[in-house]
């Protein structure tokens, strides 16, 4: 037996090598043929562009969350909104510094009492099938948004700007026709409000308010917006390719009347969950814009393409006040003072996040005096370990023993990092306190918090419009959906309602003062909500990419992106 083994094993070893050889060979021609198909496909794909500009200019943006819908009335996530605003326009759009400017509207008239907005739609505004964008398209779109049958998550936004009858229509108490909007003529759209709204124009750039062509919509039946052939566009780009879970391609609409001549010919949004491989691809030059996470931020902060931005998202802990022990004010005070927000923002997250100074983020809203809300309201959160210990001792005395609290958070990288640090800080600064961690997927976390099945929960809120009200409304005792901690304060309710719907609603200065006071009552008097940090976002943006406009309240703008 021994004698035949050797030559055979040699033969086998040789086979192994050949085997390896063939498998590499098999790889190589495959690559070759593929390159062939790409070459063949590329001219066909980009035929028109190549003819026009010589070389097609393509920008690739990596997203770590997938597109969920192109129907702007049922969309709820940021990435879907970003892609929708590529190929649809609103009456207004936002400039680079976040100010509203006319887009589909040519001009806007506002009545003296601030209750009637008349939009004159530009005569050149057209859908991609050549028909005019008319006031009726807006009427139809807004009515659909309010329609209780559609149950759009963003229907509330009509109520936020106080469109006449919006609450009744959304609640199904009045037909959609009674919504306070009308088409005066083909190109004149009129909105009537029950109360003035300072931030209405900025919101017109938000996809929920975009128009919808009734005729086309009805011709598509239940297939509307499910594919590139089931949509018509009214924005600077047309969606030309939709590969679910992979990439979404937008190609410049040559007929758009406000075409930006500099903007890139093609913008591709690529879905890539794993940021490490995305960054590798960025460094290989295949991706132009990519988000960074965790350690990557430290690693690439010297990179020429490194960009830090501040987002409007505020992360906070709404203390669950239905839990007996948390009804103890001293315990809540101890928690508030025990958290070192600066360390969490600067040393744990490092992505441009900043410590929260209150429940309203910075750069969200500007008051009647021209100052940022935060500047007026000041810093109302505080880190003070001595106070924390003192209040905790008082709480232990009142509660009759040491406390164990459960901290619920979602399974994202940032949340986990913040949660373990919060645990450490709370336990160190309140000696005797035990904090257990409870990590759940986001959807489950939300469900648990909505049903008050938690003690401390790390959650966030992204502003829908540039006004503190987007946060203040959350903690009204009547807001059963969003008031997760069941904060119930007559003082707070009165202040907020007075400012948003009551006697001060028409007086900007008084309204502002009310909101400042309401925030103070909630955060620094009742300690019902513990603000932690305002979200930053670290990104790598290739140095030859220009004109990406980030908006902390509103949708990020890739409509003018271009590569040098």
């Amino acid at each position: 037996m021994i004698n035949f083994k050797k030559p055979l094993s040699l033969a086998l070893a040789a086979m192994l090598l050949v085997g390896c050889g063939t498998s590499t060979d098999a790889g190589a021609p495959a690559e070759g043929t593929d390159a062939g198909t790409t070459d063949a496909a590329a001219p066909a794909d980009a035929g028109t562009e190549a003819a026009a500009t010589g070389a097609p200019e393509e920008v690739v943006v990596a997203f770590d969350a997938d597109l969920s819908t192109m129907d702007h009335h049922i969309a709820t996530d940021g990435n879907s909104f970003i892609m929708q605003s590529m190929c649809y326009s609103g009456l207004m759009s936002l400039t680079a510094n976040g100010q509203p400017t006319e887009e589909l509207a040519e001009s806007v008239d506002v009545s003296d009492d601030g209750l009637v907005y008349t939009f004159h739609i530009a005569p050149d505004a057209k859908w991609s099938n050549g028909t005019d964008v008319t006031a009726n398209d807006f009427v139809f779109a807004w009515q659909r948004l309010a329609d209780p049958d559609l149950a759009s998550e963003y229907a509330f936004i009509l109520e936020t700007i106080h469109v006449v009858n919006s609450s009744e229509v959304v609640a199904g108490e009045k037909p959609v026709e009674e919504l306070g909007i009308k088409a005066v003529d083909d190109k004149t759209f009129e909105v009537t409000l029950s109360l003035p709204c300072d931030f209405l124009l900025g919101l017109m750039a938000f996809p929920s308010f975009f128009p919808l062509n009734k005729e086309f919509f009805e011709s598509q039946g239940d297939q509307f917006a499910l594919g590139v052939d089931n949509m018509i566009y009214c924005g600077p780009y047309n969606m030309t390719d939709w590969k679910q879970g992979e990439s979404y391609t937008f190609t410049k609409n040559p007929d758009y009347f406000k075409n930006d001549p500099d903007a890139a010919e093609t913008v591709v949004f690529k879905f890539q969950q794993d940021t490490q491989t995305a960054v590798l691809d960025y460094q290989s030059g295949n991706i132009d814009v990519v988000k960074l996470q965790g350690e990557q931020v430290d690693m690439y902060k010297e990179d020429p393409g490194f960009t830090n931005r501040l987002q409007g998202y505020l992360w906070y802990i709404p203390v669950n006040l239905t839990v007996d022990k948390l009804q103890n004010l001293n315990l809540r005070k101890a928690l508030h003072y025990a958290i070192d927000r600066e360390t969490i923002a600067a040393n744990v997250l490092k992505d441009g996040s900043i410590a929260a100074e209150g429940e309203i983020p910075v750069e969200l809203a500007t008051g009647p005096d021209g100052k940022d809300f935060r500047e007026t309201a000041g810093k109302i959160t505080e880190y003070d370990p001595a106070k924390a210990e003192e209040f905790y001792k008082a709480a232990v005395e009142e509660l009759g023993g040491d406390v164990t609290l459960d901290l619920l958070y979602e399974d994202s990288e940032a949340s986990s990092a913040v949660a373990v640090n919060l645990q450490q800080q709370l336990q160190t600064n309140c000696p005797g306190l035990t904090v257990t961690l409870n990590q759940k997927p986001k959807k489950t976390r939300l469900e648990l918090m909505k049903t008050q099945q938690y003690e401390l929960g790390l959650t966030r809120w992204g502003p829908d419009y540039a006004d503190p009200q987007t946060y203040m409304d959350l903690f009204l005792s009547t807001n059963v959906s969003n008031n997760q901690g069941r904060y119930n304060s007559a003082v707070y309710d009165e202040l907020v309602l007075k400012a948003t719907q009551g006697e001060d609603a028409t007086d900007s200065a008084k309204r502002w003062a009310d909101l400042v006071e309401a925030e103070r009552v909630m955060v620094a008097e009742d300690f019902a909500v513990i603000p932690i940090y305002q979200n930053g976002g670290a990104m790598l943006i290739s140095t030859d990419i220009k004109n990406v406009n980030f908006h902390s309240a509103g949708v990020d703008d890739y409509r003018h992106i271009y590569a040098n």
Binding site: M1, F4, K5, L8, S9, A11, M15, L16, G19, S23, A30, E31, T33, D34, T37, A41, D66, S68, T69, I74, T76, P148, D149, A151, S152, E153, Y154, A155, F156, A171, L226, K243, Q244, G245, E246, S247, K270, F271, Q272, Q273, D274, Q276, T277, A278, L280, D281, S284, N286, P441, K442, K443, L446, E447, K450, T459, W461, D464, V480, S481, N482
Partner: protein, 311 residues
Amino acid sequence: MSKYITKRVLVSLGTLIVILFVLFLMLDKMPGSPFNDEKLTEAQKALLYAKYGLDQPFFVRFAKYFIAMIKGDLGVSYVISKNKAVADLVAAPLWLSIRIGARAMLLGTVLGLLLGIAAALNHNTWIDTLCSFVSIIGVSVPSYVFALLLAYYIGFVLKLTPILFSSKNVAASMILPTIALSMFPTANISRFTRSEMIDVLNSEYILLVEAKGVRQGGLIFRHALRNTLIPIITIMGPILVNLLTGSMVVEKVFGIPGIGMLMVQAIQNNDYNVVIACAFVYSAMYIAMMLIVDILYGVIDPRIRVAKGSA
């Protein structure tokens, strides 16, 4: 034989229906809902439940789903790609995953057999040790770690292959995921082949063949390999299942829009119909593989065929 196969197929179908029911039940009992975004009101949630028929009793929903499913309608997605038909949503990813999985399996089997045979023939030499080492690495380093290392060294440093998946260049962008996924089958099959081969080589009938003076190459492939292959077929099923699980993470690393990634996304988002469809597809593939392995086993090993034929 055909009677046996018919019976096995029928039992498998029955099992699948029960699995579907269990999946339905599990999702029903799961906390959370597809419609629990921060900004949705309770009233709207109720409306959406009514719109999609989620407010109906459990058995009504199951019956409706089952009937629609027979007609090829798997419902619509609630979250991932709102209102898209799940059947359309699942088809392309499934095909992609199968293609990658099949390649990885093929590569893994070939490499595994070669390594295993080489190790067995050189039992207790450095070649044997090397092969064992490779297979241990293959089973003990998670596939996503491999995947990222491959992406880094082959894709990024050497620039031989694309890093991320692109449907414009499918064949090239499937190379790295295929290699990453094939590690596990390679390791398992080589280990198994080695021990089976050693057994077979030491068995009496090989000694007999040897005594008859059969030439070496022919000896191995005609007699030893065939008998080694039979038990290997039995481990194919579990390996394939493992491949499916591995594909979920490898797909995430390379950004492949495959069925694994779709399912993980669906589970995270409580997208009921998509979860059920993906999980059901997995179960169906698993049961089909078991069935095929059983039947193949019968085809290759005459003893089993005889035994079952007479039973």
